[in-house]
Subunit: 230 residues, 2 copies
Amino acid sequence: METGLPKFDSAFSIDCVIFGFEAGELKILLIERAEDPFKDWWALPGNLVENDEGIESAATRILYELTGWRELHMEQFHTFGDVNRHPLGRVITVAYYALIRINGKKEVKPVTQYAKKAFWHPINDLPRLGFDHSDIFETSIQKLRRRLSYQPIAFELLPEKFTLTQLQLLYEAILNKKLDKRNFRKKMLSYGFLKELDEKQKGVSYRAAKLYKFDRRKYNKIFQNDMNEE
Amino acid sequence: METGLPKFDSAFSIDCVIFGFEAGELKILLIERAEDPFKDWWALPGNLVENDEGIESAATRILYELTGWRELHMEQFHTFGDVNRHPLGRVITVAYYALIRINGKKEVKPVTQYAKKAFWHPINDLPRLGFDHSDIFETSIQKLRRRLSYQPIAFELLPEKFTLTQLQLLYEAILNKKLDKRNFRKKMLSYGFLKELDEKQKGVSYRAAKLYKFDRRKYNKIFQNDMNEE
DNA sequence: AAGATACTGTGTAATTTTTACACTATCTTA
DNA sequence: TAAGATAGTGTAAAAATTACACAGTATCTT
């Protein structure tokens, strides 16, 4: 396409902070880079945006290529555009966070050529990251926290059926602080979008807890004019 | 600079939603375009990002070129990257909002070649805008509202000395709802970052109100571990 | 089967925050 | 000095938040 606009010796990319929750810990998916720059370093998954591709679809595509998953909860949270953030040239990157249900797979096989492998890393024990990805991660967790305070996005990280304790542990992991059990339950249940199931936790060596699920229909009904608007 | 990266037939830009508050109304600064596309349409001020320029500095520069003002409160709030948002080609735009003190000037003389003139428009009576700028504006006001709920950014829009009524009118204009006078005052004063001055409003034909100013030092002290972190 | 282990599930009182609401005080102008 | 216009103020009720501890139940061990 001839645009009539000046040509730029520069590029856009998408970087993704992919959050998962497992074993009571909040984790992000990192790739080990197979190529320079930052060969052998850990980095956030990301890639260049094609010229004929919207940034939303680019983010979806990149996530799909890496994980094989679609329809994840994704949220654009910031764009990083320092001139020197990429050693090879001008690359402006639009950062997204994604929330996924880990479901036990620890390793994810990336299909792409630029990454050797991908692993989940607990956010409290991250390796050094290439580029400015540590900054990007820091920003992402702050935005995620803020978001959680007005939208119940945590459910995107849990299995469909979960216990209130699991939910609380997740909130604690994201907010990085202990919460009071009774107050937490009271509050969560008061929202009215949790559906209690006739089912209990299985495979635990102690009293099994009730399972709940997030009732999105009820949620939308209740909060259509509140928390829902962006 | 030779980057080794593929060349893109595409461009970055910055668009700014510049908020001002005047005569009890929240306004934004629009330019009338002198060039195609959207010649003679109103649009948000914005421009391309130079290749050797960070996006923060580009935003600062663009704002300065248009208004002559520096050191405004600016905040990046979203990046728009649909393939077809710009009729001439692929332009990804990083959107910022800026808050400025109008101080009575209604017209701002833009120095740039692409804009005929710039005018303040009340946000409740905006003309049709070129490109996807109406979407960008909508997003900006939502982000601004959200932000105001946890950070006292309103002061950036008021003169240094202001009355509590002025402050309340501004909150009402941003949040688009009436607030209770007594409750508003009680709450604002309770934060402890408003400094009451030994001075009164002048030039009004009724009882003059006390003037206050925002005490940024106190604010930082009080909220350093709370509202302050991003 | 008895006891140890480990987590589930529950209520209340105190405190803080939010909300609703109306009149007097002060200044200016005619 | 009266009329007009906004400033400035308090309280009570309701709602939300916080702090706090133990009995119940399933499983496992011996």
